[in-house]
């Protein structure tokens, strides 16, 4: 399975902190995972995960651009630009 985490405003607006996706041939990259999530028709998934939204991603706790490869067992996280400090 691919574990997917959401943080901060994205987590709050989705109403979910975590979902899982079954690995599939069409889920090769971070961009693919995001597109799969944006294809969900329940709730605000399409809006909040659309490519128009400025979101960052990490794969296994390392920042990951959209083309980063994803495989079974990975943890993918999506979140808004960071605002610490």
């Amino acid at each position: 399975m691919i574990r997917i985490l959401f943080f901060a405003s994205l987590r709050e607006r989705l109403g979910e902190a975590e979902v899982t996706l079954a690995p599939a041939p069409e889920l090769k990259t971070v961009a693919d995972v995001r597109a799969a999530l944006a294809a969900r028709t329940d709730g605000r998934w399409a809006e909040l995960l659309s490519v128009e939204q400025l979101l960052l991603a990490a794969v296994n706790e390392t920042m990951a651009p959209p083309e980063t490869a994803v495989q079974d067992g990975d943890v993918v996280a999506f979140f808004p630009p960071v605002t610490g400090g």
């Binding site: 985490l5 943080f7 901060a8 405003s9 987590r11 709050e12 902190a17 975590e18 990490a58 706790e61 390392t62 920042m63 996280a77 979140f79 808004p80 630009p81 960071v82 605002t83 610490g84 400090g85």
Partner: protein, 173 residues
Amino acid sequence: MTMADTISSDLNSPDGPFWHRIQTAPIDCGAAQQWLSADIVGAAGATVLFTGQVRSEQGQVSALSLEHYPGMSEKVLAGLIREVAQRWPLLRALAWHRVGDMGAGDAIVVVGVAAAHRQAAFEACSCLMDRVKTEVPLWKKVSGPDGSDWVDARDADLAAARRWHDSGEADER
């Protein structure tokens, strides 16, 4: 997986030259300064300590809540310290970041370095802080009389962090 409410494990330690920490407990800035200055060989001539505190913004901010990505935030913080210490000759460096709930005036973050000379200390501390602001997975939510909302990332912070990329480090990676 919402707000982290545990003090993260310390793989690093006060005994080594680098010390990062994500913590829910209040930050003790005096202790940070003391640790930086305690260089037993006497080779550190300069320390620079930065603290970031919750601003009340004329009463518009009464409380601040900080969410992080447990595990990743510690990893990124540790990596930033290592990178900064590769660019400037540092004897000690620390970065402690608080998460969870805090109020106006509370310290959110303390970043400090010790070096032989002051120019390196100022530059390294400033760079480390700019990168903490833009690279560690942390998110602020502020509460005031009009309710609460997530803080937007500032272009000025991204520009500040880019300064350091333009002048070396990132180019070499």
